[in-house]
């Protein structure tokens, strides 16, 4: 046995001569050993379900996942991708819902963050009030708005009546349902975007602002050319977090319009569609296919956003 311990890697601590082999092995591999529980956890809770869903998507599993199912290859994928009745409209709604909601949330969130940026009297209370929607359960929020937007006895139409505007269908209308759910989503999640952006704003240093002010830049010029570029990394994080969350919105849609996103699938996004395939139709094969495709869409969107973020940081 060698008497001199060679240091294999820089992270390995020097070991005294004569230490048993296993101790040295543990020393050499400790970064893996410490990470092992977390890695097992991730594998069990992320990789396995994903792999299993991937497998199911290649079978015709239906009725019961315990029932015998046949391997059908990419047949489900071809079926789903050529489905212009439910799948593609659901993709369209998912993109519309996410895009429009995100746009409003970022613009409004930015406005609120800028308002709260500089200290003023009663700021604490304003912050609490703005955060209220954020702490409510989405399902409860959906139920609440469903009552408010009830076309016959709801508060929204009563309020419109006071100012002389006729009743609106809101959630009940085939073409107004999706915009109404977007409104609910904006109502609930704008505070979160505002919170993230506010955190970003308060961490900015004052010097560039002062320099710009001395140079005679207007408020808008300072926002456009100083604040916004400095805030870009935070903004991307906010868009990323909220975007992914908006993509997979389920509870608000389910609580307001129920199964299938309403009688005409008015608000049926990919998530609602996949849920219906699993729990209403028991079509586990097709449902898994939709989920895998959805997963790819989310990965794609995330990749596009992070690529942009790196560009912005360059």
């Amino acid at each position: 046995m060698a008497t001199i311990t060679t240091t294999k890697a820089p992270h390995s601590a020097p070991t005294a001569p004569g230490t048993p082999g296993w101790v040295r092995w543990v020393n050499d591999h400790r970064k893996w050993l410490f990470a092992a529980p977390a890695m097992t956890f991730v594998a069990a809770l992320l990789v396995f379900p994903l792999a299993w869903t991937g497998y199911l998507s290649l079978t015709d599993a239906e009725g019961s996942v315990r029932a015998e199912s046949e391997f059908v290859g990419v047949e489900n994928y071809l079926d789903v991708l050529s489905d212009t009745e439910r799948f593609w409209p659901a993709v369209g709604r998912t993109v519309t819902f996410t895009g429009v909601a995100l746009l409003f949330e970022v613009v409004l969130g930015m406005a609120i963050a800028l308002l709260l940026w500089r200290p003023f009297k009663g700021q604490k209370w304003v912050r609490v009030a703005i955060l209220m929607p954020l702490v409510a359960t989405p399902v409860a929020v959906g139920m609440m708005w469903r009552l408010i937007f009830d076309p016959n006895i709801g508060l929204a139409n009563q309020a419109l009546g006071w100012v002389g505007i006729g009743p609106q269908p809101w959630l009940a209308g085939q073409h107004t349902a999706l915009p109404t759910t977007i409104f609910i989503d904006v109502w609930q999640w704008t505070p979160m975007v505002a919170l993230i952006l506010l955190a970003g704003l308060t961490s900015l240093s004052d010097e560039p602002q002062e320099a710009a002010r001395i140079d005679g830049a207007s408020t808008w010029q300072r926002f456009r050319h100083v604040t916004l570029p400095l805030l870009m990394p935070t903004l991307t994080v906010a868009i990323l977090l909220r975007g992914i969350d908006a993509l997979k919105t389920f509870d608000i849609l389910y609580a307001t319009k129920g199964r299938g996103g309403g009688s005409f699938h008015e608000v049926e996004t990919l998530n609602v569609y996949a849920y219906g395939l699993s729990f209403d139709y028991n079509d586990y094969g097709v449902s898994s296919t939709v989920l895998i495709l959805f997963f790819l869409i989310i990965i794609g969107a995330m990749w596009a956003l992070t690529a942009r973020r790196k560009e912005a940081q360059r």
Binding site: G63, F279, N282, S287
Partner: protein, 430 residues
């Protein structure tokens, strides 16, 4: 659950799978436990059972653990747990017409052939034939029907009197005329209200379909939702809601929404299952409790043909390790005494001997008893297509209903729906 995401949904399915891998063992640890785990839906029946439970527990020494869920949650729960072969449900309350075929096909439900014969005083032959048929799979009983339903006409006595009508409408034509008359006289009040959601409306629409002479499938098993009778029924039902229904009517109403409009005093006529009548006559829930009347389902061209179905039954989970005690619970809950007690508190049961006992209907409104008697005579034994994947079929055959309500061409929608339904039937027959 706070939010069910893509991961949530796939996890639920996958969790079910991984559990099934280690199935068989279960968490009971082998041997029957003295705790019977019973999963029940939110229903008057359940409330009554809960009140009677202490007597059962004292008598048998068993402990009953009840899980109570709303219909949709119950359905999801079964989907996950039964798929996983979970043994932590012993007795399950299920809907024979909605999930019965699927559960039986997947062998989630235990074969009860021996149990139903084991006790002569319990008397299985006492159960009405129609409901028993719905809980029988391939000749074997897999469930015991507990609640039956017929569709009846709910109406407002005061509004009828105000409109100068001396009696509730006997035909669908009379119903249409009366609803239009009341709506014209009272702009704030709908002449007629009923379910409008694509899937929820199907069951209540079925009585209209039958009374016009149609059905979901014809005698040879082919899709028949575009028959002349069916087209007339779609146009009638949709037109009635469109013309005489509530202002700004939505196409999402299930029974809670439609019932709310009726009990808020905003509608004159309402067709719905009789088993929900307490919502309308209970002063705590209804503003018009003292003005509600009941009549048999109005007659169409083919007469008055409401559905007459078992809406709920009790079954035993085939993965349960506590089946003997589970049966003890079912035997007690479906006994003549319990059925009588249930019926007296307003839950129509499936036992002939109980119906023959005048005491069982003594608490019902008199006109409701007459309406039920008329319904059971000419009633049809199903209220939705009799298939395995009922939820999917309901969405297909329900489309023309919502199209008609929104003023679209009901006949064209029926043709489209029929083609889709035939394809669905072909797929299922494969």
């Amino acid at each position: 659950m706070r939010r069910r995401s893509i991961f949530g949904t796939s996890l639920a399915v996958v969790a079910a799978m991984s559990l099934s891998a280690c199935g068989g063992g279960g968490d009971g640890g082998g041997g029957a436990s003295t705790t019977v785990r019973v999963t029940l839906a939110n229903h008057v029946w359940t409330e009554n059972v809960k009140q009677a439970l202490p007597a059962f527990e004292k008598q048998t020494g068993l402990k009953v653990e009840i899980t109570q869920l709303g219909e949709d949650q119950l359905s999801d729960q079964y989907n996950v747990k039964l798929n996983a072969g979970s043994s932590d449900i012993d007795v399950m309350m299920y809907r024979p017409l909605q999930e019965g075929r699927l559960f039986a096909k997947n062998t989630y439900l235990d074969d009860l052939s021996d149990q139903v014969k084991s006790n002569a005083t319990w008397d299985f032959s006492d159960f009405q034939a129609g409901p028993v048929e719905a809980t029988t799979h391939e000749g074997k009983p897999v469930g015991v029907p507990i609640i039956t339903e017929q569709e009846v006409l709910y109406y407002r006595k005061d509004l009828l009197a105000k409109a100068g009508l001396s009696a509730p409408p006997k035909t669908l034509d009379e119903l249409k005329a009366a609803a239009a008359k009341i709506k014209a006289a009272e702009p704030d009040i709908a002449g007629f209200v009923a379910r409008t959601g694509k899937s929820p409306a199907v069951t209540q629409f079925s009585s209209f379909l039958y009374s016009f002479g149609g059905d979901f499938v014809d005698g040879s098993g082919k899709a028949a939702v575009n028959s002349d009778a069916a087209k007339q029924a779609f146009a009638y039902y949709g037109g009635l809601i469109k013309d005489s229904g509530p202002a700004n009517v939505s196409t999402d109403m299930g029974w809670p929404e439609a019932m709310a409009i009726f009990t808020q005093g905003k509608a004159a006529f309402y067709t719905e299952a009789n088993s929900l009548y307490k919502n309308a006559t209970d002063p705590a829930k209804s503003k018009v409790s003292d003005q509600v009347g009941f009549a048999p389902f109005p007659a169409g061209p083919s007469g008055s043909k409401p559905y007459n179905i078992p809406s709920w039954a009790l079954g035993i989970n085939s993965s349960s390790e506590n089946q003997a005690n589970a049966w003890k619970f079912i035997e007690w809950a479906t006994s003549k005494e319990q059925t009588l007690a249930q019926q007296k508190s307003g839950v129509p049961g499936a036992r002939s001997s109980v119906w023959a006992n005048p005491e069982s209907t003594s608490t019902f409104p008199k006109d409701l008893v007459e309406a039920i008697a008329a319904s059971t005579k000419a009633g049809v034994g199903h209220d939705r297509p009799l298939v395995v994947k009922v939820a999917e079929a309901r969405e297909i055959v329900g489309q023309p209903i919502v199209d008609a309500i929104t003023g679209k061409d009901a006949a064209a929608a029926a043709d489209t729906a029929n083609a889709a339904f035939q394809k669905f039937l072909d797929d299922e027959a494969k």
